[in-house]
């Protein structure tokens, strides 16, 4: 057994050493400009996240969704039974939320849908949208906002977004479809998923720990 393990270690080290000496032929790596253009993007990071390493991204989105399932499951029994007292109305915050919400949503959509052309993408867009919802929750109270957003249908939208994202991933990975619209769609779906996740976390924390 020991001999076997020793031989395996030596073989592994030898393979690595041979690899570093350049004995194996290396596949030609295209320049990042070509690779990016092949996926229909101009931002190389977006092309890698949604193209060359799409498996990685898809599985990370699944990890994100699973962490949210954990948050829901643990915090549900801890949420408060008695209704939370309404927040005191602060006119400044309410007005600011009214004025700022529109631009925040537009900015998030812009960041998501132009992620393949410039800096941005689904992940920051979702986080920005989540911060916008946080601002709204601060102004209105988390419970009232939760009623307006209708949690169960939000959950359905979330799982729908994941399913659509997996379908898009299948188109890119298995059927080798290429095109800008695929990247835009994937970015918007990722943004939606991240924003809903951020909202779920904030809402569950707020409802089990008192008002925002």
């Amino acid at each position: 057994m020991r001999w076997l393990a020793g031989a395996a270690v030596v073989a592994l080290v030898g393979l690595l050493a041979l690899g570093t000496w350049g004995l194996f032929p290396r596949p030609p790596v295209p320049s990042w400009e070509e690779a990016t253009a092949a996926f229909g993007a101009r931002n190389a990071v977006a092309a890698i996240v949604l193209g060359a390493r799409l498996w990685d991204t898809l599985l990370e989105v699944l990890v994100y969704a699973m962490a949210l399932v954990g948050v829901r499951m643990v915090l549900r029994p801890l949420s408060r039974v008695q209704p939370v007292p309404p927040v005191s109305e602060t006119p400044l915050l309410t007005r600011a939320a009214d004025i700022l919400l529109g631009p925040i949503v537009v900015f998030a959509i812009y960041i998501a849908s132009s992620g393949h052309l410039g800096p941005g993408g689904g992940f920051p867009a979702g986080a920005i949208l989540g911060s916008g919802l946080l601002l709204l929750a601060l102004a209105k109270g988390a419970e009232r906002l939760a009623q307006e957003l209708h949690e169960p249908s939000l959950e359905r939208v979330e799982y729908g977004a994941i399913a659509a994202l997996l379908a898009l991933g299948g188109l890119i990975l298995v059927l080798s479809w290429r095109g800008s619209w695929l990247l835009v769609g994937a970015n918007v779906l990722i943004g939606l998923e991240v924003a809903i996740g951020a909202w779920v976390v904030l809402h569950h924390f707020a409802s089990s720990r008192g008002e925002v």
Binding site: N43, V45, A46, I111, G118, P119, G120, G121, F123, P124, A127, I128, G130, S131, L134, A198, V201, L202, F205, A206, R209, G210, V212
Partner: protein, 271 residues
Amino acid sequence: MATVLLCALTLALAVFALTRRRLLWGVIGVGAHSLALAGVYLFLAAPDVALTEAAVGFALVTFIYLLALRRTGRLVVAATEVYPLLYQEGDAVAGLEWEILERFGRWLHRDIEVLWVARADIPRLLAAGEADLAAGGFLPREGERVLLSRPLVPTRMIAVRTGPGPCGAVAGDRGQDHLPPGGPTYEDPEELASALARGELGGAVVDLLRLREWQLRDRVGEAETAAVEEDLAFRFAVAPGEEEVHQALEGFLGELEASGDLARVRERYLG
């Protein structure tokens, strides 16, 4: 150059955050550190990462920390040492007020941390948010902006006369009100006792428990005593911004009083 400066700022913010005593400052410091970190990413030609870090690390992460802290942080108690109320026993803290505080902490699901300070520093610490509660034989003075709990232990102020000479008191204590303006004050009660023993002072104005402690340890010998202020009580003080903690403490002490536990604890420590 700008990058190096920004790096230094980021590191300074992180070190500031991680060396704080209060968790709240730690969370705020880490939030500011995340924002500076986003700036560093921008200088490193990684705008996507910078955008994500700013949106996630600064806004969302800071906020969920704050929500989690809301009810689960630790309560910092600024206290002076007074023998049967709150005192150190080796590494541990003991005393009547400690028993109440510990039960209050369990009731609120929060850890209690005692910060030993001089009496004169307590109002400043409470106002600055460095501490949530004050304990250890706290007697309120005029003009202190604190929220007071219900009375715990009745007491009175006593003037001790050991000989001729000026009268002294603990700095910031209620006894200071009974001195003529500019009367000698001492940060540490022990110094007051030694000054009294050496004969530098002719007397002192202290509360009943402090006097009893001195008598038990033979710090003052023969002395005339006279009550200068009756009907006082030791209480807890709550920082002016912490109405929620104050309400919780009042409710908790009310329950303790109604169940008779408060009287039992008082009996056990004070007889």
